[in-house]
Amino acid sequence: MDRKTIFTELKKVLAPYTENKEMLDGISEETDLIRDLKINSANLVDIIIDAESQYNIEIDFDSAEKMYKVGSCIDVIIDKMNQSA
């Protein structure tokens, strides 16, 4: 699965937790989940859990700490998918 596909799917995962839905159309890999999308920091845990079930991966504490930007979320997802492949 390539970065572009995951990027598109990640938008759907983020949608229910994003206050400002219009912001989602203009996101890039540099978009910060808390600062730019105004996601409640406790909901990052729900996003991680949703990503785990969508890609059938397990995200550990150290990886979860990196998932604060769209691009770093994609990095972790790809990394974990390669580990379980």
């Binding site: 409640n40 406790a42 909901n43 845990v45 991680i48 859990i49 979860a64």
Partner: protein, 154 residues
């Protein structure tokens, strides 16, 4: 029987809403509280017509269902969660979605049961129900919270 856990709670007198914890394990908790007839909010909510405020019902559910279970999970050394508590730690509610079905009047006893949905990265999410003395459903909802200033174990 499980009331030892109450010594860990950071609340006092007028804002402690737990009398007993009757069941407690890694997946859930049951506890009760009897509303004090002289509680500070009844005089004003409402004038000459005391009814327990929804925010207090929510707080009772959060204290028993989320805070007690959260502290239990943390002090029981759940390694997967990667966190522990110290003197500077306190619980914070991060989200609630509650529906109310019946009023609670001064002096009524309420029973709260909570089932864990998950405890990950220090966040606890539960499905919590409150029933009255007649076993009628009073309120039901999804609650989540974290322990602020929890110590992260590496």
């Amino acid at each position: 029987m499980y009331n030892d856990i109450l010594t860990y709670l950071p609340y006092k007198s007028s804002f402690l809403f737990i009398d007993n914890i009757s069941a407690l394990d890694m997946n859930g908790v049951t506890g009760d509280y009897t509303l004090r007839k002289d509680a500070f909010f009844y005089e004003d909510h409402f004038v000459n017509n005391p009814v327990t405020p929804g925010v207090i019902i929510t707080e009772i559910m959060a204290q028993i269902g989320l805070v007690v279970l959260g502290i239990h999970l943390i002090i029981s050394g759940n390694r997967k969660a990667g966190v522990t508590m110290d003197g500077g730690s306190f619980p914070l509610l991060t989200a609630t979605d509650v529906s109310f079905f019946k009023m609670v009047l001064p002096g009524e006893k309420v029973i709260v049961t909570s089932k864990k949905q998950y405890f990950r990265f220090g966040k606890l999410k539960c499905l919590i129900e409150m029933h009255n003395g007649a076993a009628e459903l009073v309120a039901k909802g999804i609650f989540s919270g974290i322990i602020k200033n929890a110590v992260i174990k590496k």
